[in-house]
Amino acid sequence: MQGLFESYDRGGFFDEMFSDDGRVRPHYALLRERFCQMDPSEFEHKRALAEKSYLNQGVTFTVYSGDEGTERIMPFDLIPRIIPATEWEIIERGLVQRLTALNLFLHDIYHEQRIIEEGIIPAEIVLSAKHYRPELVGFNVPRNIYIHVCGTDLIRGADGQYYVLEDNGRCPSGVSYLLENRQAMKRVFPKLFSRYPVRPVDRYPQELLAALRHVAPNGNPDPTVVVLTPGIYNSAYFEHSFLARAMGIEIVVGRDLVVEKSRVFMKTTKGLKQVDVIYRRIDDDFLDPTVFRKDSALGVPGIVDAYRAGNVNLANAIGTGVADDKVTYYYVPAMIKFYLGEDPILPNVETFLSAVETDRKYILDHLPELVVKAANESGGYGMMIGPHASQEEIAKFRDAIIADPRGYIAQPVIQLSRSPCCNDGKLEGRHIDLRPYILSGEKTVIIPGGLTRVAMRKGSLVVNSSQGGGSKDTWVLDEEVAPC
């Protein structure tokens, strides 16, 4: 290795760019060549350029500590993650299969509950899920689609195999970074793109809008679609306004909407205008103070009534949280088999349920080796990584598991694959994951690639942006032909 990669150390992990014998993987060869021609200062200059443009564009998320929120950019790493066409083809089929099964599962548990009757999933697991909504039982959502937008987190283990780590079926965020990362890379390395057959990602907003229009109530061919945001102080506000802009639709806050006669209207300068489909980026709990949390100032009183009356549709549907519950996750492979009669294409990570007595005993005996996760948390919160945890932390989680066995799961520590990342002018391996975004509309569509998230701290396995994670551009190649 030479230049920037001179002292690069794979550290014994699965490396995206270099194989175990230290040779560059073929789909990265051209990239390495280009980067080797660059001296560290040129590289650093390009990185600073990209970050500056993020800041100027306001591509930021807000981190709260105490009362004060600071706007931060997500650290951006210049070395793209490259996925060959054959690999992506498998991922794509696996994700479509998985989301199809999850949508069938949601329809089932809010209707006949066959999967419970046939003993595939215990009733108490479903019914005790924090996000199970008995209010929606028997309710038919337009075109039977519950999860319109899904962000499924994939990781690669030491063997290079892709595993599903979790499904995000409520309000997955991050897609705007995927799109902005591509823009930034094109600005910084225009020539590389002309030499690599990278599949484009920029039609995501149009695909999203098509999916939203597809599920308009009563098959309305020309629905009014809006994005509902908690407001400018929400950490993902940039993304909400980005998507509204890219789809050319209004972005509204709860106060902009009013429900009259079970219909939802927005308050405009020309009077009230009816709204048909709402891409809501507010959790169920805050959606309607008359049904869910009474103290929610973000929601719209009466919106659930309008939803149940079939006059407005919400994406994602209310009650999808039961499908991305981490205990439900355990049963997804069984679900795929049950509803589709197929074997799962993408495996789960081995998972232990503390709700099951034998598993619980195993978990409690092996806490220092396991990753423990709260069933209903996201964003890297409510999580313990055994080998990195202190005695007190382990003790805290032990008590929590005993007090609430349904509330936790455990998994072996997966050494996520690594990718070279630039740190202080040096290239070092950092752990990464991949979050593709899957849209279910008339058909199921996945934008090639996804958001590759990077644990920026050395050795860290936590990639969430709220925990200081960064991201990099993700290239899915169009064909198997070597880049020219």
């Binding site: 100027n56 639709i249 209004e250 300068t269």
Partner: protein, 326 residues
């Protein structure tokens, strides 16, 4: 267009214009000060106190500072975050409103404003100010002008743009009336008389702070009198910062928003703007002076506030009280 969005466009534009007016006023005052070299604490106070009076910020200023000095006033009007009318506060509020309507305005507009915001917060801004306040204020005004140019060139001239115009011209009419009023608050030093050197220099400064000096000199044949300057800044029909010009555009924007025919009105805002517009069309400078210029300007400011409130009522009828006003 959402009422909340219309409201945000309106205020975004007012804050931009207010930031510009503040930067101009400070720039000119520094220059004016340089013209009068024998400065003691008394004359310095005499120089800066009218600025605070114009901006109606005297009370708030005295919460932060005990005595009036140039540095204290400039710091207070430029950087003080706790002063909601300071340039930094105006830019911050403009950006906050822009963030709310990020999908309505063009990316170019947003980036220009965001860059300005990031700069105003940065140590670089303080350093530039310390090096040369005049240059600093000029570059601020430049950035704000760029924003206006970008707005005109990149945003669809439909409802949102008309709300931006409405806010801009309403705020500008208000600023021009305040700048003119500065002259009322400045006392002529003993021994000086109306029409003397100091008096003329002060009127030139008023013109300069409205970027009106060159335009004025073209038509005034060297006659720099209070009467001529006031006539120009209040009643000129095509100078873009005169009160008459601004109100004309306020009225135009209102009618384009509602679609109501010119010279008719469909809401209270249009009625009030039409009334003020025709008053300005048919007022002479003699009318202004016989009412007393300060009184006349005071009354005009009240009428501008009246229009602003009526706009919010007409188009923000859905909004909660908490969201209304600045």
């Amino acid at each position: 267009m959402l009422s909340r969005v219309a409201d945000a466009c309106f205020w975004l534009s007012r804050y931009i214009e207010r930031a510009e007016a503040n930067a101009r006023i400070l720039d000119v005052n520094i220059q004016l000060l340089l013209d009068f070299e024998d400065q003691n604490a008394g004359t310095v106070q005499q120089h800066w106190q009218p600025i605070l009076a114009t901006l109606e910020d005297q009370e708030r200023f005295s919460e932060f500072h005990t005595g009036i000095s140039g540095d204290a006033v400039m710091e207070f009007v430029t950087f003080e975050k706790k002063n909601p009318h300071s340039i930094v506060s105006c830019v911050t509020l403009a950006r906050e409103n822009a963030r709310m309507v990020r999908e309505q305005i063009s990316s170019e507009m947003w980036e220009q404003l965001n860059r300005l915001y990031l700069y105003a917060q940065s140590p670089a801004a303080h350093a530039a100010f310390a090096e040369s306040p005049i240059e600093f204020y000029r570059s601020l005004v430049d950035s704000l002008h760029s924003f206006q140019g970008i707005t005109d060139a990149t945003m669809t001239h439909s409802e949102g743009w008309h709300f931006l115009q409405l806010g801009k011209f309403l705020e500008r009419a208000d600023s021009t009336s305040r700048v003119l009023d500065i002259k009322y608050h400045i006392l002529l030093p003993t021994g000086e008389h109306v029409g003397g050197t100091v008096d003329v220099t002060q009127w030139l400064a008023v013109l300069r702070s409205c970027s009106a000096l060159e335009a004025f000199l073209k038509i005034s044949h060297g006659q720099v009198t209070g009467r001529n300057v006031a006539q120009f800044l209040i009643l000129h029909d095509s100078f873009p910062r005169s009160i008459r010009f601004c109100i004309d555009h306020v009225d135009g924007a209102l009618h384009r928003i509602s679609g109501c025919e010119h010279s008719y009105f469909s809401n209270e805002a249009e009625r009030l703007s039409g009334k003020l517009r025709s008053a300005l069309n048919f007022t002479t400078i003699d009318d202004v002076f016989s009412a007393g210029m300060h009184q006349y300007l005071d009354e005009t400011q009240l009428r501008i506030t009246g229009i602003s409130n009526a706009v919010i009522k007409a188009y923000g009828q859905w909004l909660d009280d908490a969201e209304l006003g600045d």
